[in-house]
Symmetry: C2
Subunit: 423 residues, 2 copies
C-alpha cells in the first residue's frame, strides 16, 4: 500500500451542497471551498460559510433518522443519502428525571452520543470529512486522535472504501487501540502526548508522504468541524423545535462547543426555532483545564498545559478554539468549570445508577461540572438544561473497573447465596 496517494489526481465534480465558501473567523477573508484550513492573510481558522435555501421543519422531519436529515444545513451534496457512510446521529435525548431529582433540577436531558456507530460523537464530524475527502479526490483518511476519533475515522474509511492511516498517543486505553485498528486501516502509535501527535501530523501534511491525504482534523477541519452543528439541530428538534435554556458541553479543542452555538444561531436565523437566550457552559477535567483557568482569571488567551487526567478524550493541553469558547461562555452568560478525576469517576457512577447510561470519562466530566455549577449557584435549577454524553463507558473501563465489580462470587447453591448476601 503506497503511503502517498500520488496517482489519485482525478478531481471529481465538487458539490458541497449549501456551502458557498470558506471564510476566516478572524478577518472575514473568503476563499473557494478547498482542502485548506488557515487564512493566508492573518492565519485565522477558516470555517464554512453557507447560502441556505428555504428549510422547513417538515422537510427535515421527512428525512432519515441520522445527521443527513439536516443535509440542507451541512457541507454535503444532496445525494449523500445514496453513498456508503456511517449515517451517524439522531441519538437519543434522554429525559433524565431520576438524575434531575437527585440533583434537584427541574428539567434535565442527556444527549447520549454513545449511541453513534462507533459510540462517540466523532462519527458526526468524520461523516462530514468523508464527504469532503470524496469531493477533493483524497483516497486516504488520516487524523491525530486521543482515541475516539481514530476509531471513527478507520470505521468510516472502511465503510466508504477509503484507505486510512491514523495517529494516536501510544499509551491510550486498550479498547480504543483495538477499536482503531480492527477496521483494517494503519494505526500508528506515537511516543508522546496528543499535542505532540498533532504537531507530527502538521509536519506530515507538508511532506510528500502525507500529500493528498485527507487529515480530517487538519486540512479537512473546516468541513469536519461542521458535523458538531448536528448536535445543536438534534437537541432543538428533539425538544420540539425549541432551544434549551442551559447546556453543558465538554471541551477538548473547544470546537464542538463553538459549533453547537453556531448551530443554535443558524436555527434562529432560519426561523426554525424561536429566538431566545441560552447559556452555554464548558466542562473540563482539572488535570487539563486551560480554558476553565482562563475563564476564572478573566483572560482572553489560553495558557497551554501538560494534560494529566483520566479523561483522555479531553486531554488537549493547547485547545485551538479555546478563545472562542471563552467568548461564547461570556456572551451567553455561561461559564467554564473543571472537576477532579475522582469527581469524574463518581459522576460516571451517578449517571449509570440513575439513568442506565454508561458514559465515557468525558461524560463524567460533564455530569461532574453540572453538579459543581449547581452547587455553586451558577446554573439555574429551574431552567431547562441539556448535558452531553459524547462517548461510551466501554472505551474507558479502567476508570470504573475498581468499583464496578461483582457484589459477591458464590457457588451455584441457595446456601452460598444466602451466606453471601445475607438473605
Amino acid at each position: 500500500m503506497a503511503l502517498a496517494a500520488t496517482d489519485q489526481t482525478t478531481t471529481t465534480s465538487i458539490d458541497f451542497g449549501p456551502a458557498a465558501a470558506l471564510s476566516c473567523r478572524e478577518c472575514g477573508a473568503r476563499y473557494d471551498l478547498g482542502p485548506i484550513f488557515a487564512c493566508v492573510e492573518c492565519f485565522g481558522p477558516l470555517e464554512v460559510a453557507y447560502e441556505f435555501g428555504a428549510v422547513t421543519r417538515e422537510q427535515i422531519a421527512a428525512g432519515p433518522a441520522n445527521v443527513w436529515r439536516y443535509r440542507a444545513l451541512l457541507p454535503v451534496p444532496e445525494n449523500v443519502l445514496d453513498r456508503p457512510n456511517m449515517a451517524p446521529g439522531w441519538t437519543k435525548l434522554v429525559k433524565a428525571d431520576r438524575l434531575a431529582r437527585e440533583l434537584g433540577v427541574r428539567a434535565l436531558h442527556v444527549k447520549d452520543d454513545s449511541g453513534n456507530p462507533t459510540h462517540s460523537f466523532k462519527d458526526r464530524v468524520v461523516a462530514m470529512a468523508v464527504e469532503a475527502a470524496r469531493n477533493f479526490g483524497f483516497h486516504t483518511l488520516s487524523c491525530s486522535s486521543t482515541g475516539n476519533l481514530a476509531g471513527a475515522v478507520t470505521a468510516a474509511a472502511a465503510r466508504a472504501g477509503l484507505d486510512a492511516c491514523v495517529f494516536i498517543p501510544a499509551d491510550l486505553e486498550n479498547a480504543k487501540i483495538v477499536m482503531a485498528s480492527v477496521y483494517g486501516g494503519r494505526l500508528v502509535g506515537i511516543e508522546g502526548n496528543y499535542d505532540e501527535v498533532n504537531r507530527f501530523c502538521s509536519e506530515l501534511i507538508g511532506d510528500p508522504m502525507g500529500d493528498r491525504w485527507g487529515f480530517v482534523n487538519v486540512n479537512l477541519r473546516p468541513y469536519y468541524a461542521e458535523g458538531s452543528k448536528t448536535l445543536a439541530y438534534e437537541i432543538a428538534e428533539q425538544l420540539g423545535w425549541r432551544l434549551p435554556d442551559q447546556i453543558v458541553i465538554p471541551i477538548a479543542s473547544g470546537s464542538q462547543l463553538t459549533k453547537i452555538d453556531k448551530g443554535f444561531r443558524e436555527l434562529i436565523k432560519l426561523g426554525l426555532v424561536e429566538d431566545k437566550p441560552y447559556r452555554i457552559f464548558g466542562a473540563q477535567a482539572a488535570g487539563c483545564a486551560p480554558v476553565a483557568a482562563a475563564f476564572r482569571a478573566g483572560h482572553d488567551v489560553i495558557r497551554p498545559v501538560k494534560p494529566d487526567t483520566i479523561a483522555k478524550s479531553l486531554a488537549i493541553g493547547n485547545p485551538a478554539d479555546g478563545p472562542y469558547v471563552l467568548d461564547i461562555a461570556r456572551r451567553t452568560g455561561g461559564a467554564v468549570e473543571d472537576v477532579t478525576d475522582e469527581e469524574i469517576v463518581d459522576s460516571i457512577h451517578l449517571l449509570a445508577r440513575t439513568e442506565g447510561i454508561f458514559a465515557e470519562t468525558a461524560g463524567g466530566v460533564v455530569i461532574g461540572v453540572l453538579r459543581k455549577l449547581l452547587r455553586e449557584g451558577k446554573l439555574d435549577p429551574d431552567a431547562e438544561t441539556v448535558v452531553l454524553n459524547t462517548g461510551d463507558g466501554l472505551k474507558t473501563l479502567d476508570a470504573v473497573s475498581a468499583k464496578a465489580r461483582p457484589t459477591a462470587i458464590i457457588k451455584p447453591s441457595l446456601d452460598s447465596f444466602r451466606a453471601a448476601l445475607g438473605g
Copy 2:
C-alpha cells in the same frame, strides 16, 4: 436492601395492550396473563397470544424511532411511550455492499444491533420484561446471563427505578462484568457455566429469597421473548415492507430465531407484507453447537453439550428452543451450521474491514456461518440476504486483541515514520 420484595404486594392494573393470554406452545392450553412460563398440563413453554386490532404501515411509521413504534404488536400498554425505559431498537439495517462484493453475494444487509443502548439485542427483550414487571408489581429485576443480558437488565432497571440482582458465570469478559455492575444493581458471579447459573436461578425462583422477583428469562420469559419479534418487524420495514429471502440468525437459547419467524408470520397475517417464502438459517460456534449437530444428524431432539468457545454470549449447552429452531430451519428450507473460533475471529475482522462494523463474537459466528453456507452452496448468492450482528466488539475485545494492534509505534518525527512504514 431486602433480597425479597415482600412488601410489594400492590397489584397495579394489568395492561398488556394487544396480548390476550398465554398459550402453551406444545398443547395449546390457554392461561391468563401472569408471571408463569410453563404449562401445568404438559410442561410446554408458554408464549403470548394476541388479539390484534387493525395495524397499518402508516400508523407504525408515525411512531418513535424505537421498538415502541410496534407497540400495537407487543405485550405492552399504549402508554409505554410515557414511561422511563431504554427505548431500544430501530437499529441500522446496513446495506453491506463491500462485504457482499467480497463474498460474491448480490444483496446483503447487516442488521446491526450493536446500536442498542447497552449495545446488544438484549435491550429489546429486557424492555418487554420491564413492562411485564411493572404490570405484575415486581420491584426487583433478575436474570441469569452470559453477560450481555446482565448489563441490559441492570441498565434498564436503573432507568426504570427498579432494583436489580443479576447472576453471571464468574469467568466472563471484564467489559461485561464492569457493564453489569456499573448501573448499581447487585451482580453475583457464580462459579460455574451458564447452564449452572440457569439452574441456580430456577431454584431461587422457588425460594422465599427470590419470591416476587421478575426473572426476565424465567417467570417473565413469555413477555421477554416477544421483544425479539421487533427484529423481524424492523428488518421488514427497513427493506421497504418486504421480507428478505434468506436470513442468518445466531443461536443461543434459540428463542430469538423462533421469534423472528413468528414476527415474519404475523406481518404476513396482518397484511403488512406480501406473503412469500423465506429461508431461516441458524448459526452456532463449533464449541457449542448442539443444534447444528442435531440438524446435520436429522434428529428432532438436542443432545446437551458442555460449551467451549470464545462466543460466550452463545454458549448455552442446552438450548431451550433448540427443537423449535430445527423445525423452523427445516420448514423454511434453511439450515443450522457452526464455525470454529478461528473462523469467528477472522469473520469479525472481515466485517470490520469491509463495513466498519465491529461485531461481538456472536456477530463473527453469523458472518462465519454466512461464508460457510455460501461455500457449501446452501445459501443462494442471488437472493436478498440479511444477517444479524447482535452485539458489540467492545465487549469481547480479547477475541481480536492479538491481531488488532498498532501497525507501528514511532517517535513523533517524519524520519521515524519513514523508517517504520517505509514511506
